[in-house]
Symmetry: C2
Subunit: 116 residues, 2 copies
């Protein structure tokens, strides 16, 4: 499966979540992260997500949404609220969350085959 | 050094660059990536960057800029143009680049110490 989000033409929204994992309960964390991704996919206005975490526990997840209302709706989902509580209390040493309006986009390299 | 960007209050801009590394010339790539980051820091309007690449070569780098003009200026820098050429020809199997206007932000966890 491609790890790139198949987003439409802008405008749309991006939630940029950068986090430093504490190292606590990594298996439980991985399970919860998978579960949240599956749940997000069922939400109205969800357009996709991209995620990478390095060996030092620094991760960036960007999820893409049709509009601010879709983001607000996802933020209020009960299971997501519960997951964030755990994130706040044990999984994350620090995080930064930014909500941004995507205005333009392009991809490449031009000479290579399309998205893997 | 903190791996979180110390960005100001929004609005400002984010360049979200998601890439799949080809695995070719990884040392040369790492050197170039470091060099580009150092160069970016000297550019007008640069506000910071966050970056993570996982063991499968999928990476996300988000750089933050004061405005669109700062991004355009950085894009046209000769050394950056040269680095992108190499990226296009050997380092990246695929990439997606999105330019977005950050509209709001917050961080956490609230009960933990400030940014590491």
């Amino acid at each position: 499966m491609s790890r790139f989000a198949n987003t439409p033409e802008p405008p749309y929204y991006a939630v940029i979540f950068t986090s430093q994992h504490s190292g606590v309960d990594q298996d439980e964390y991985a399970n919860m992260a998978d579960k949240m991704l599956e749940l997000a996919k069922t939400m109205p206005g969800y357009l996709g997500a991209e995620s990478a975490r390095d060996n030092n526990g620094l991760g960036i997840t960007v999820s893409y949404w049709r509009d601010e209302a879709s983001i607000a709706n996802w933020k209020s989902h009960a299971e997501h609220v519960e997951a964030r509580e755990k994130g706040n209390h044990k999984w994350y040493d620090h995080y930064e969350l930014r909500v941004a309006r995507v205005e333009r986009s392009y991809n490449g390299p031009q000479h290579k085959a399309a998205k893997p």
